[in-house]
Amino acid sequence: MRVQAEPFDVGAELAAFAAGRQDVGAEVSFSGVVRDDGGLAAMEIEHYPGMTEKALAKIEAEAVARWDLKASLVIHRYGRLEPGEKIMMVATAAGHRAEAFEAAQFLMDYLKSRAPFWKKETGADGASWVAAKDADEDALERW
């Protein structure tokens, strides 16, 4: 689990992920990208140093235990990002595909609503905080 201001390389991370393990049959990765819906100049991500790391470690440990993951990875950036930049990524490695997919979705759902990050978007009309979606909170109920 890493919380960092610096960019990361999804391809390089994934190439190194679970390398050499022979009990892994399925690997899933997710990455979130700064999307330009029209006029977005930049995204600023604020976080809560200390709590962020604790929350991510807890979510990751729960996923590893629940789906018997052979490997897992969570990286989340903070600070200023531009459209097209990767915000975060998760990766899961398991024996079979169902577990790898479920665990990655679990990580994402919890990370969205339970890890202390806040996004502020700056566009032509000024800056505004991204509002949490009810759908993201509701997504937790399936787990």
Binding site: H76, A115, W118, K120
Partner: protein, 82 residues
Amino acid sequence: MIEVLYFAWVRERIGLPRESIETQAATVADLVAELRAREDRYDMAFSDVSALRVALDQELAGFDAPLAGVREVAFFPPMTGG
């Protein structure tokens, strides 16, 4: 003495990221009431607590949670990571 932290628009409305507060508040709700009584900017920031979340010593908690033994309280809007 308790450390109180503010994030995102709560931080912007109150105008500072953190402060040390001397308080006898028994619960989070009591602390919120004390803060609201201080100044308008606090009153406005806490006007709708349903739009806020609170963490005690870096763990999410409810507004009715007791503050005994707590060193760090953080107020922020619902999280939007990922």
